[in-house]
């Protein structure tokens, strides 16, 4: 067990949704920067990718909710 693992400030516990939102945000920023040239196009593309990430996850999550275990 290293000092790193003992340090409770560094260890960060996230629930599913915040982890999803942060992940989607960071990935969509990179996709926007790399995928388009003009600043406005980048913003729109990044917003679309972010929406697609979060929306797809929510839809799939609700679909799975109705599937019996």
């Amino acid at each position: 067990m290293t000092q790193w693992e003992n340090d409770s400030i560094i260890a960060m516990a996230l629930t599913h949704f915040p982890a999803l939102v942060i992940f989607s945000f960071l990935v969509s920023v990179v996709f926007g920067v790399l995928g388009k040239e003009a600043p406005r196009e980048r913003l729109v593309y990044a917003a679309k990718v972010f929406g697609a990430f979060v929306g797809t996850a929510l839809v799939l999550g609700w679909l799975m909710y109705f599937i019996p275990r």
Binding site: T2, Q3, W4, E5, I10, A11, M12, A13, L14, A19, I22, F23, L26, V27, V29, V30, V33, L34, E37
Partner: protein, 144 residues
């Protein structure tokens, strides 16, 4: 007639395009720099803002992966998926050996957010691969 003109144009265009490419050593240096530090390749090409955004975004993603006790894979397990994961995480460059140097032992798989953390670490590597490819395209004149 028109076919001849097109043929002549393409014949003339090939040497011009080849001449405009940077030397192979420059391309290799650029791609290695872009791999080692996210955004460094773009910085060398003069794309300062893009470099800053890539560095910040990929860096934050990697650090969040570490904070969530994401797992560092190894090649010694014999599992193909773990080996793929190892190379995926290695794609982020110096950050992985850097984290090991500063005492990160490779994550705690029993920690509640460890799976998310591992996904963040691998995704940071994959995003850096996209950044390296973008850097290569800019150097080759395919993108601005």
């Amino acid at each position: 007639m028109a076919g001849k003109v097109v043929q002549e144009d393409t014949a003339n265009a090939k040497p011009k395009a080849a001449a405009s490419h940077p030397p192979i050593i420059t391309l290799v240096r650029l791609c290695v720099a872009a791999w080692l530090v996210p955004g460094l390749g773009h910085l060398m090409l003069g794309r300062k803002w893009r470099a800053l955004i890539l560095f910040a975004t990929i860096g934050v993603m990697f650090v969040l992966g570490l904070a969530m006790q994401g797992q560092f894979f190894s090649t010694s397990s014999g599992s193909y998926l773990q080996t793929l994961g190892y190379y995926g995480e290695l794609c982020v460059g110096l950050a992985m050996p850097g984290a090991r140097f500063f005492g990160y032992s490779g994550g705690d798989t029993f920690f509640v957010s460890s799976d998310f953390g591992t996904a963040y670490l691998v995704a940071a590597g994959m995003l850096n691969v996209l950044a390296v490819l973008d850097c290569y395209d800019i150097a080759m004149g395919r993108k601005s």
